[in-house]
Assembly symmetry: C2
Homo-oligomer: 289 residues x 2
């Protein structure tokens, strides 16, 4: 190959991996090197700009600890997390679509009976979420595990405010019966900013971008034999619905939040005031073999 | 544009920057996003592979402190540092070529008289380095500042071994006279590994790559009116000459290390034993206006 030149730069780097005994790693690094060199040639960074990039990566790394993952945040705001999710969750037509898991899922949450009011801090506008989990033919799925979680009315998940919010506030696990139906009571979610006091937040500001995610709540629905569905459903009237800082919104994940003023319906669903009715069905694809 | 999809992913991200008031930053991020998304689509990383990448970047960031810059090391071993250097030092034919500065340059080193023996620890095989600094027409340049630095015979720069090596060991500054000539005494350089006890070193090992740089010594040659030359000259017989871990070698930077056994020449050049004679001329381009 010869020595490094501007023209053959990527190939010279790739050629050094001839003794690599991990074909997948070699492929991944080769692709990254090719695209990275192409990007650098297109950008033609000055030495000072290159140093700014080094310093940005360094401060992003220094921001990371057990509680804060600034590189995941960077991946999120560059659309990379959503792209990886999309590539890993291609499904047949008719199947519910995935979106990013996000950092606030918690394993081992205790099972709750259907209909539970999972809002434990009494804040916000009441909401009834319900629907049916079925397969692609519309046959209800019995025994599906439905994990739900969302922020409280102040825009924080319970795990972000330990000691302030009750444990498992707005977080629960349900299991469907033979009819595949689920229903629970919660509060209408609100939009909230991703953590923006670090290098990624500063970058967003310099790019003229806001840090907000539109109001949504999370679902993780799993059942043996079916492709696990990780998704949110979104409020289409949220001001940030068209500009989610992490690009999680999909057309098919917009729900209707229907205000219910009928006292009889309120009574039936154990609300004492107006509530929002959110009906949303999920269709699971068969597990890829 | 609509919501994020696998197909339009990069463009959706780029479109969020419409309010950015820094056109260069917007351009840089747009190019990076386009290439990053293209790389991700080509790689199709699993969620687990994506997380490994996040963890690699995080541990690389955590390795960085005031003394260790692991992201620069990463840039170096991926050929990015050399590429940025190449893009920023395109020169007319006949001009001496640049290579990377490296982390061991020191500003404000005191001026030494020509001919000084800059090896202060007495280790290694003696070497006489000499040549002429001229312009592209071959006219000698008077008053050129020549900064030189290299490792000692153990493969460490003075600043890596403060308290072990004498201050300014194998590091000096000279200024040319009317004839443009320079000469100084030192020791034949040795190959040495880049710091390989961190994430970048572990990556090199997994890629089947060694961490060595072939034997070289550094020059930084500057004079008002001329394009500053940052370069090394290399020993072509070094076992790593064809596989520099940071890709710094260029054909035009290979020197001859000629052993001199003639006692008369040894006496003339103030050596008591065999030494290596390394003659290397530099040609500086006019400063770009």
């Amino acid at each position: 190959m010869g020595y490094f030149t501007e023209e053959n730069s990527a190939q010279v780097v790739i050629d050094t991996m001839s003794d690599c005994d991990n074909p997948r790693l070699k492929e991944v690094v080769s692709v990254l090197v090719r695209h990275l060199h192409a990007a650098v040639k297109e950008i033609e960074p000055s030495q000072d700009e290159w140093m700014q990039a080094i310093q940005f990566l360094t401060s992003t790394g220094h921001m990371c600890d057990d509680w804060r993952q600034e590189f995941i945040l960077l991946s999120d705001v560059l659309g990379v997390s959503m792209l990886v999710d999309a590539l890993n969750s291609r499904r047949p037509p008719g199947a519910s679509e995935n979106t990013v898991l996000g950092p606030f899922h918690v394993a081992d949450v205790p099972l709750s009976p259907m209909g539970t009011n999972i809002c434990l801090d009494g804040k916000g506008e009441p909401m009834l979420a319900h629907g049916v989990v079925s397969d692609l033919d519309g046959t209800p799925i019995e025994g599906a595990k439905i994990e739900v979680w969302q922020t409280n009315d102040d825009g924080f998940y319970d795990v972000q405010q330990k000691g302030i919010q009750p444990e498992f506030n707005l977080r629960a696990v349900f299991r469907t019966g033979a009819d595949g139906r689920y229903w629970f009571r919660a509060v209408k979610p609100t939009s909230y900013p991703i953590p923006d006091d670090g290098p990624v937040g500063k970058l967003l500001a310099r790019l003229g971008r806001h840090p907000y995610r539109p109001a949504h709540f999370h679902y993780l629905i799993s059942r043996e034999g079916y492709d696990t569905l990780t998704t949110h459903i979104f409020d289409p009237d949220d001001p940030y619905i068209g500009s989610d800082a992490v690009f999680g919104v999909k057309e098919s994940l917009l729900a209707d939040f229907v205000p219910v003023d009928d006292p009889e319906l309120q009574r039936q669903n154990a609300f004492e005031t107006r509530y929002f009715d959110v009906e949303f069905d999920f269709r699971l694809a068969n597990e890829a073999v």
